[in-house]
């Protein structure tokens, strides 16, 4: 996968993840062009389109469009399910996710994506494992807070073993 974009029906970009080196200018140009193209499409149309020498796979969830650019030999349907699995992960983490969750907790949305996809490839498909990694981190942060208070660094190990 070369990049993933999340944008609203109004065309506001909510998340952008680039897996190929591009300049900021190019990124903005691509985003503008794709948002326009995708928003212009009608609901019943097919989820795939050719764009430059890439294939675009997109799907709309409520007010948000999820849009991935993949290469010629990549599989469109499995990319559609990458999108869906990511939505499921967000949903599970935030509890019926909505656009606002992603706006206000954008950093979490990035962290979850990094656990799921890395360098444009699927890293971990198990929902449990991805969320475990994220929740562990959340937990860790609370524990760190406690640890710092009590200066009891030792409890760190227990937390890991316990989780």
């Amino acid at each position: 996968m070369q990049f993933m974009l999340l944008f609203s029906r109004q065309g506001k970009l909510r998340l952008q993840k680039w897996y190929v080196p591009l300049s900021d200018k190019e990124k903005k140009k691509i985003t503008r062009e794709l948002v326009q193209t995708v928003l212009a499409r009608k609901p019943k149309m097919c989820s795939f389109l050719e764009w430059r020498d890439l294939k675009i796979v997109y799907k709309r969830y409520a007010s948000l469009y999820f849009c991935c650019a993949i290469e010629d030999q990549d599989n469109e349907l499995i990319t559609l399910e990458i999108i869906h699995r990511y939505v499921e992960l967000l949903d599970k983490y935030f509890g019926s996710v909505c656009e606002l969750d992603i706006i206000f907790n954008f950093e979490k949305a990035y962290f979850i994506l990094d656990e799921f996809l890395l360098g444009g490839e699927v890293q971990e498909t198990s929902k449990k494992n991805v969320l475990k990694a994220i929740e562990q981190a959340d937990l860790l942060q609370e524990v760190f807070f406690l640890c710092c208070l009590t200066k009891a660094i030792g409890c760190l190990g227990e937390v890991w073993e316990g989780s």
Partner: protein, 978 residues
């Protein structure tokens, strides 16, 4: 429970985001942001040390602002500080900031790398993963240099946690894609292959991606992955829908892993080991069987995941192209999808069937779906699906169904979306030509194309119909009659006027017997369109008129009247004016015999690749012509369209270079870039051969006209000078090249025109043009003194073997060059085979009685015969891989001699002659090029890659060609240019 309450809610951030959302206008938003930026700046600059939480909060705000699309030029240092925090979320935000706002400040990079190094060494898996994610997200060369060697170790270490292995595998993949040279291969590769056996499915999922990428470059090193992948796949495919627990997705076991494994297998030919192959075929059959089972869930996710595997399986079957049974089953399966209610499936089925159509085993099976596909073309509501249907019709077309398909496509064209009209036009034109049984059908089809979609009929298409009509005398009468009728329509497209004008000018006599199309009628019909046409068309019509004067002497007076009219003779357009003047004069001074000779019917065009096919390929990238490319499946087609003219090299030398660069995909040599200028337009129609007139000095248009005119004035001079043929002096007769000769030569490697040499006496200028393996060079010798040069004699010498490699014909020049005067010498050059040394130019003359002599290197280097070749990334890499013998590659690492400017570099590479390919190299700083060196005896495919390293002020240049000395020579030539 929402995460915000999970302990790290940054209230200040939430408030800020709310504020931004409440802004009513863009201005208000910018104002709010500027206020925040000022606030953050002052906090960062303040004397009071910020605590970690505040730093995190502000960095996060900056990130938010950046992601909104605003520029951020500070905060990097604070983010880097966060990296070494021992609080996880602080570190995490620091890493996120760094990976989104990559900065090239080297001091910063040093600090970042240091923090990453510490985290990688921390043995804390959570920190290690964060660091690996950051490397993978940034993926820069600097990161590669710092960590590419460590990551394989982490990946295969026995004590690495699974999550670390997963991140390490994909991190390495990213670094390898960015800079493959930085990832050292070694004993770890064997252990990576064995990760396919890992019991953790996530580890396997990550590892397969890495292996798929690595094995493309080193297929042999990773060969063992085939059997491992097959057995892994087999276990997944045969597992029950719940066996894999959390790796089962909507009742489909491990769909992502399955797809990746099937992709990996597509990097290799079918397994050699019979047992492995048997097992794999079984897997593929199981997938095909499962497609027929009732779905286990009604959810679209279930069917998508299942069909993702199915489509990947079909891709593998097509890739193997060796199991007729599986191919036909695949085709039947896709046939079912063609009528599926899911648009996505219909789209993919049409796409996938396109590739099936090119397999001899399934071509017939694909053809049985013709009615469904035609129906899709008519009824699909989504233009991208219709486009796929048109592609498939094109791919499945052969002699048996050509008439049906062409007529359906023509009908579709009337309502087709504007975006795809031109492509449909090209496809119809190609099919009509390719499968024409009788040429009247072909002519009808093309004229229909012009009628229906005249605006989308490109020059290539109507040039082609003229070429074919010119070459086939059995269709000329029919063509003349048909265009005549078509021109009678009250409104006809300008392209119709062009075709009509040309054809009537050539073959109007064939229908002149019929009083309804007598010469005056033909002329007035054409002339009635004249005033509405563009300059280019009017220019063409003027040529038609002069041809009419020859064909039909009775029209002479009328036509001369037209030419004489003020609107022609004094036309503001110089081209029209010139034609009117010249044609008028020609028609009045030349005798009937001379006219008949000059205006004779055009000779047949040499057969070569259809320029339309080349255009379609340019539009769609290589492979677009699919099965039609070479008519392999249908050998008899060659006699219809002349087919692809075999190039000498493909016939006589079965060298590996023959089809390496997809010579057939290269733009046809004779088709000039499609400009609309009148000159170019005409030369393609009128010129008679690919390179008979390299169109140098005089514009191509003048070249055409010069056939009609007395010889150019320079020739008599040459005749007067010295009638004796000049024997080239042997190398021993001339002195060694002057010391600067090499340097002077280097100046001309990337350009064709300029001053070659200058001293107090003499200036030598060069103007040259090369096309294919031919070139023409004009040398201008300027006498800078006020005294006449005597016995002036420039000669070209071929040292060594060069005579057999390069033919240079020179014309003698006047032996006296007056003071302040300039003489011109024309050199015709033909490259016979590849050569390494340039010819020498020896100039001798007497100046004030003293003999002067001077030897230079003639700026003719092998790269002049480059023909640029465009290709897609995939093809480039495939060809790059094919040229992997060590002797085929030449590499040079060298210091930059000039400022490193990307635009200048680009211009130099283009001047060097290769095409520049964008989006091939994963690193956009790098340059990748491709081209073919055209010589008479053979063609040499060349690929090149130039990697600038701005920091070190160095370049690395790599050349791969099918001929060893050529690689080295080109590498040396080019390296001196930067």
């Amino acid at each position: 429970m929402p995460a915000v309450s999970k302990g790290d809610g940054m209230r200040g951030l939430a408030v800020f985001i709310s504020d931004i959302r409440n802004c009513k206008s863009k201005e208000a938003e910018i104002k709010r942001i500027n206020k925040e930026l000022a606030n953050i700046r002052s906090k960062f600059k303040g004397d009071k040390a910020l605590d970690g939480y505040s730093k995190k909060k502000y960095v996060c705000k900056l990130l938010f602002i950046f992601l909104l699309g605003h520029d951020i030029d500070f905060g990097h240092m604070e983010a880097v500080n966060l990296l070494s925090s021992n609080k996880y979320t602080e570190k995490q935000i620091g890493y996120l900031f760094i990976s989104v706002l990559v900065n090239s400040n080297s001091e910063l990079i040093r600090l970042i790398n240091n923090a990453i190094k510490n985290d990688l060494a921390s043995r804390n898996p959570t920190f290690m993963c964060l660091a690996l994610h950051c490397i993978a997200n940034v993926g820069s060369r600097e990161m590669g240099e710092a960590f590419a060697a460590d990551i394989p170790r982490i990946l295969v270490a026995g004590d690495s946690m699974d999550s670390v292995k997963q991140s390490a595998a994909l991190c390495l993949l990213r670094l390898y894609k960015a800079s493959p040279d930085l990832v050292p291969m070694g004993e770890w590769t064997a252990r990576v292959v064995h990760l396919l056996n890992d019991q953790h499915m996530g580890v396997v999922t990550a590892a397969v991606s890495l292996i798929t990428c690595l094995c493309k470059k080193n297929p042999d090193d990773f060969k063992t992955c085939i059997s491992l992948a097959v057995s892994r796949l087999s276990r997944i495919v045969s597992s029950a829908s719940t066996d894999l627990q959390d790796y089962t997705y909507y009742f489909v076991p491990a769909p992502w892993l399955s797809v990746k494994l099937l992709r990996l297998l597509q990097c290799y030919p079918p397994p050699e080991d019979a047992a492995v192959k048997g097992r794999l075929v079984e897997c593929l059959e199981t997938v095909l069987n499962k497609a027929q089972e009732p779905p286990k869930s009604k959810k679209v996710q279930h069917s998508n995941a299942k069909n993702a595997i199915l489509f990947e399986t079909i891709s593998l079957i097509i890739h193997y192209d060796s199991e007729p049974n599986l191919l036909v089953r695949a085709c039947n399966q896709l046939g079912q999808f063609l009528q599926h209610r899911e648009t996505n499936l219909r789209y993919l089925a049409l796409e996938s069937m396109c590739t099936l159509a090119s397999s001899e085993f399934s071509h017939e099976a694909v053809k049985t779906h013709i009615d469904t596909v035609i129906n899709a073309l008519k009824t699909e509501r989504d233009v991208s699906v219709r486009q796929r249907a048109a592609d498939l019709l094109y791919a499945m077309c052969d002699r048996s169904n050509a008439k049906q398909i062409v007529s359906e496509m023509l009908r579709y064209l009337e309502t087709a979306d504007y975006a795809i009209r031109e492509e449909i036009v090209l496809k119809v034109a190609i099919l009509a030509e390719k499968y024409a049984v009788d040429y009247s059908w072909y002519v009808d089809t093309i004229l229909n194309l012009i009628r229906i979609a005249g605006d989308y009929v490109s020059e290539e298409v109507w040039y082609r119909v003229l070429q074919i009509v010119t070459n086939r005398d059995d269709v000329q009468g029919y063509a003349a009659k048909t265009v005549f009728e078509a021109l009678q329509a009250p409104a006809c497209h300008e392209n119709m006027v062009k075709v009509g004008g040309y054809i009537l000018g050539e073959f109007g006599n064939l229908i002149a017997g019929d009083p309804r199309s007598s010469p005056p009628v033909q002329f007035s019909l054409l002339h009635s369109k004249f005033h509405l046409c563009s300059v280019a068309t009017r220019a063409l019509l003027l040529s038609t008129y002069i041809k009419f004067i020859n064909l039909f002497p009775e029209t002479k007076a009328t036509i001369q009247g037209v030419l004489r009219a003020g609107s022609q003779l004094r036309n503001a357009d110089v081209e029209l004016q010139q034609r009117a003047v010249e044609y008028l004069t020609l028609s009045s001074v030349a005798s009937t015999d001379v006219l008949a000779t000059v205006l004779e019917e055009m000779p047949p065009f040499p057969e070569r690749e259809s320029s339309i096919l080349a255009k379609l390929k340019r539009k769609k990238g290589p492979g677009a012509g699919s099965a039609l490319d070479d008519g392999r499946r249908d050998p008899s087609s060659n006699d219809v369209n002349g087919g692809v003219e075999p190039t000498p090299s493909t016939v006589s030398t079965p060298s590996p270079s023959a089809d390496l660069l997809g010579l057939r995909a290269a733009p046809p040599p004779a088709a000039p870039p499609a400009t609309s200028g009148a000159g170019n337009l005409l030369v393609d129609v009128f010129s008679d051969g690919p390179a008979a007139q390299p169109g140098l000095g005089p514009t191509p248009e003048e070249a055409f006209l010069s056939e009609l005119e007395p010889p150019a004035p320079e020739s008599p001079m040459a005749l007067l000078a010295d009638p004796a043929p000049a024997a080239d002096p042997g190398p021993e007769d001339i002195g060694p090249p002057i010391p600067e000769a090499d340097e002077l030569l280097n100046k001309f490697v990337c350009k064709n025109n300029g001053v070659l040499f200058e001293n107090q006496l003499l200036q030598i200028g060069v103007k040259s043009e090369f096309r294919q393996n031919l070139g023409r060079m004009y040398l201008f010798y300027g006498n800078k003194t006020s005294v006449q040069f005597q016995n002036f004699s420039p000669t070209v010498v071929h040292p060594g073997d060069l005579q057999t490699q390069l033919a240079v014909q020179t014309k003698r020049v006047a032996a006296q060059v007056d003071g302040g005067a300039q003489v011109q010498q024309v050199l015709n050059i033909e490259c016979l085979r590849d050569f390494l040394t340039p010819p020498l130019l020896s100039v001798r003359f007497r100046y004030g009685g003293a003999p002067q002599s001077l030897t230079l290197k003639l700026p003719v280097t092998i790269n002049k015969f480059f023909q640029p070749t465009e290709m897609a990334a995939q093809d480039f890499f495939q060809r790059w891989k094919q040229l992997s013998l060590p002797q085929q590659e030449a590499q040079k690492i060298f210091k930059a001699n000039h400022p490193m400017d990307a635009e200048v570099t680009k211009a130099k590479l283009l001047g060097f002659g290769s095409a520049l390919l964008d989006n091939v190299d994963p690193n956009p700083e790098n340059f990748v090029g491709a081209g073919i060196i055209q010589t008479k005896a053979l063609q040499v495919g060349c690929l090149l890659r130039l990697e600038p390293n701005a920091q070190a002020q160095m370049y690395r240049l790599t050349l791969r060609t099918s001929k060893e000395p050529v690689s080295r020579h080109l590498c040396e030539l080019l390296a001196q240019q930067f």
